[in-house]
């Protein structure tokens, strides 16, 4: 061997072990060179890798290790020192880098490990969030379902639709197996299966209402889980499957009365329905809280919707009823109007038809009375006249009464002399009373107003009727008429419980009492007295005329005058007192000029009753003229006499208060004079009162006189008393129309 400076390997290269080492070194070097290549390749591929320099370091380390092993291959055979040197350098570098890398890894590996834990943590969190998202979505879904359900429920006001929709929607939302509604029966003791989801026509199962489980559900406002075996839940035969969980909730059935304005609807109602919900069979589903809440909300909404529907139903029913009633009332009203119209037409026709013959009878009978008759004939004619007058009055009464009844009669209000009315009644009744030897006395209170505003004619009619009755039903004794102003304390009379007069400033209540000592009335008959056509036993015996309408009419007149009329009697044979109160107005201010024209006539007529009254007498006949003048002079008048129409017109002036003219002489134009006087004196208070003295007071004459504007007609011959009363009447009323 030469001195090649070679290093000999320790072992011979042909040794088997050496061979194995040689091969292994080769493969190691290969692997060590390829690993960094792979690393670089994959790192290049990935976008993010924070530890690049670590990689470089590691790569260097591996490359150097590979180089070492590669160089080692040459050391198996004889190799020069250079190779050994290279080997040594390589190993040194490798050692250095390896140590550095090892040192580095101490820092890096914990970091890498923590990355792993963070990753795990994040994964868990992600899973949790996913779960929560799922839950929220589900809740949102159910919320949407509830809204939709509520909308569906509230969009209809039909009870059945509401309930059906509820069940259907609930079933869909919650994916229920079965959903059922139990309603309380009419008796309130049982619950009846009314609606179900699956079964179309539930047969009428009923359960008693007082089961403990039901009470439990009713006493809580929440949905309550119940056992699937209780009777309300066993509606759907589950067979061999395990039934799902069942929940029941109460549905309050509210009434209108539950909705107070001030309080919220308290569930003080005892009526509940029961809603039972069953989860699908054989599922492991449980009732979640949100589902239960949904059920409760739905139940409340259903309650409200149901009550709305009920209220609506009721109001629709009421409205239909009202419409029906309206129609019926309208029809009835129209029928009534037709009837009233027909009645009025009938009355008008009958009135006219009845009055025409009556007129003929009365007129001709009075004419007949004027002619020469034997006493028997005269009696007959008088009876005919009296009866026909009575009949005429009856016809008038009937017409008046019917007009009174339907309210079409109105009072003719006017100012009139109250005392005069009473005196007139007295005058009218005196003859009859004296025939019956009855004494009539009139007491007018001093505070009674002289003038009053009211319907004079009807007031007189009333007084006359009452007094007439008193006279009619008294055989002997006396009749006293008292009239006074009703004072406030007297207004509260025990008799007049429905009558509450109110005293005021411009009206007063006139109270008239007519007491008689006649046959009286028994207390039980008193109410009947004022009904039409009713006659009590005692009156039926007597021949009382008037058909029993008189008092009824009086009552109506009195009522029209806002008053009250009643009769007091202690019994049969003890007489009776008729009392009535009417409301009369107080005239504000009497017309001054009218007052000046009405000189006050003192009740006791003396011979000079009309001092200085200027009167004009026109009569062609000397004798009549003288007689009339004598009459008037005797009464104190200042008489001017004329004997022709021209003279009359010449002489007449507004100083003459009354003109008496003879109007029946043929060829005389008494009527024309009247017309001329009217033309001459246009103002009413300047014109003298024109009175015709005539020998016949037939209708034609009277009509003629009325037509030309005369104020009165007197039948000749005129007695002193008659002239006196005529003058006083004329001067008070300015019109007399007839004095026989």
């Amino acid at each position: 061997m030469d001195s090649c400076n070679c290093i000999e390997p320790q072992w011979p290269p042909d040794d088997l072990l050496m061979k194995y080492q040689y091969i292994s070194d080769f493969f190691i070097a290969l692997a060590y060179f390829s690993i960094p290549l792979e690393l670089i390749y994959f790192v290049k591929k990935s976008a993010v890798f924070p530890y690049r320099w670590v990689l470089v370091q590691f790569g260097a380390f591996i490359v150097l290790c590979g180089a070492t092993h590669l160089i080692n291959l040459w050391t198996f055979t004889m190799h020069s020192r250079t190779v050994a040197m290279v080997m040594a350098t390589a190993k040194v570098f490798t050692a250095a880098v390896s140590c550095i890398t090892a040192l580095m890894l101490v820092h890096i590996i914990p970091d890498l490990l923590s990355v792993k834990t963070r990753e795990l943590f994040l994964k868990n969190k992600a899973a949790e969030l996913d779960r929560e998202m799922g839950l929220i979505r589900t809740q949102e879904e159910t919320g949407r379902h509830v809204r939709m359900l509520t909308h569906e429920i509230r969009s209809t006001l039909d009870r059945h639709t509401i309930l059906k929709t509820t069940l259907v929607e609930l079933g869909r939302t919650l994916a229920l197996e079965e959903c059922a509604l139990w309603m309380p029966t009419r008796t309130g003791l049982e619950l009846q299966l009314s609606y179900t989801l699956r079964q179309q026509n539930p047969v009428g199962y009923t359960v008693p209402i007082h089961l403990p489980v039901i009470n439990q559900v009713f006493s809580s406002s929440h949905a309550v889980k119940i056992s699937p075996n209780c009777p309300v839940a066993s509606i759907h035969p589950s067979g061999k499957y395990t039934p799902g969980e069942v929940v029941a909730v109460r549905v309050p059935l509210l009434h209108l009365s539950n909705f107070q304005i001030n309080d919220w609807p308290e569930l003080s109602t005892k009526r509940y329905a029961l809603m039972v919900l069953m989860l699908p069979l054989d599922s492991a589903r449980h009732w979640h809280v949100h589902e239960l809440e949904l059920v409760e909300v739905v139940a409340d909404q259903v309650a409200v919707a149901l009550s709305h529907a009920a209220i609506l139903e009721e109001s629709m029913r009421a409205r239909d009823l009202l419409m029906e009633q309206n129609v019926a009332l309208d029809l009835a009203r129209r029928e009534a109007e037709t009837a009233v119209r027909a009645r009025n037409d009938f009355l008008a026709v009958m009135n006219h038809e009845m009055r025409t013959p009556m007129h003929a009878i009365i007129a001709l009978s009075s004419l007949l009375q004027e002619t020469e008759l034997t006493p028997e004939q005269r009696l007959m004619v008088e009876t005919i006249l009296k009866s026909s007058n009575l009949l005429s009055t009856l016809i008038n009464d009937v017409l008046d009464l019917s007009r009174l009844e339907d309210g079409s009669l109105q009072l003719d209000l006017g100012t009139f002399n109250l005392c005069a009315v009473f005196k007139e009644v007295l005058n009218l009744i005196k003859p009859i009373a004296s025939v019956k030897k009855l004494h009539v006395s009139l007491n007018l209170a001093p505070d009674l107003p002289e003038y009053a505003v009211g319907d004079e004619k009807r007031l007189m009619q009333t007084i006359l009727n009452v007094v007439g009755n008193a006279v009619k039903f008294s055989k002997d004794g006396s009749i006293s008429i008292t009239a006074f102003v009703a004072k406030a304390e007297l207004l509260r009379d025990s008799q007049t419980t429905e009558f509450f007069p109110v005293p005021g400033d411009n009206h007063f209540y006139l109270r008239v009492q007519v007491k008689d000592s006649g046959i009286g009335v028994s207390p039980q008959d008193i109410p009947k007295l004022f009904t039409k056509f009713a006659q009590t036993q005692s009156t039926a015996i007597r021949n009382s005329g008037g058909g029993g309408l008189g008092l009824a009419i009086c009552k109506r007149f009195v009522n029209l005058m806002e008053g009250h009329i009643w009769i007091e009697s202690e019994g049969l044979g003890k007489g009776c007192t008729a009392i009535f109160m009417v409301k009369l107005g107080i005239p504000e201010r009497l017309n001054e000029s009218e007052l000046a024209f009405m000189p006050k006539v003192p009740p006791n007529h003396g011979p000079t009753a009309f001092p200085g009254l200027k009167v004009l007498v026109m009569d062609e006949n000397g004798v009549s003229r003288k007689v009339t003048k004598g009459l008037l002079v005797h009464l104190g008048c200042d008489v001017t006499m004329v004997s022709s129409s021209e003279e009359c017109l010449r002489v007449v002036s507004n100083e003459h208060k009354v003109v008496f003219m003879d109007a029946c002489a043929p060829g005389m134009d008494g009527y024309e004079i009247a017309v001329c006087i009217h033309e001459k004196f246009t103002k009413r208070h300047e014109r003298p009162i024109i009175v015709a003295l005539t020998g016949n007071t037939d209708k034609v004459t009277k009509e003629n006189c009325m037509r030309v504007g005369m104020d009165g007609v007197i039948l000749k011959p005129v007695s002193l008393d008659k002239m006196r009363s005529v003058l006083s009447d004329l001067l008070e009323h300015r019109v007399l129309f007839e004095a026989i």
Binding site: E372, P607, E620, N621, G622, V623, S624, K626, V627, T628, G630, L631, V633, H634, D662, A665, P666, G667, G695, K716, P717, S719, L720
Partner: protein
């Protein structure tokens, strides 16, 4: 005084008989009532007027009825006047005849009218006599110093 009483009694009896026989009626009584201090001779005056009127009217009627062509209207007018006067004074019988007279006039019955005229004249003269007797009695009473009794 005895004389006065006697005269008064006579007066009353006579008045009563006149009334009874229908010569006078209530109207005459009324006239007598009108006689007072202011017009003491009222009744006499009226009666005189009446008599004058009557005579005039009767003459008119007689003349009218004598005509060939009787103007019934005129006669009727006269009768009407007479009727008025007689009723004013209270001459009942005269008035009644007038009524009948009028109907004859309307019927234009000349014979009837003439008959009535006769009757009227007759009644009128009767009445005139009676009234004059009555007035004489009154005068006698007044002359004797009494007062004329009022007739009820």
């Amino acid at each position: 005084m005895d004389v006065v009483n006697q005269l008064q009694r006579q007066f009353l009896d006579y008045s009563a008989s006149l009334h009874r026989e229908g010569f006078l009626d209530d109207q005459f009584t009324q006239l007598q009532k009108l006689q007072d201090e202011n017009s003491p001779d009222f009744v006499v005056e009226v009666a005189s007027l009446f008599f004058e009127d009557c005579e005039k009217l009767i003459n008119n009627m007689a003349r009218a009825l004598e005509q060939q062509g009787v103007d019934f209207k005129q006669v009727d007018a006269s009768v009407h006047q007479l009727k008025g006067s007689s009723s004013s004074i209270g001459a009942m019988r005269v008035k009644n005849v007038c009524i009948a007279f009028r109907s004859f006039c309307e019927a234009q019955n000349r014979e009837g009218c003439l008959r009535c005229l006769q009757q009227v004249t007759h009644e009128y003269s009767l009445l005139k006599n009676k009234l004059q007797t009555l007035f004489r009695l009154e005068q006698q009473i007044l002359a004797a110093g009494g007062s004329v009794p009022a007739i009820e």
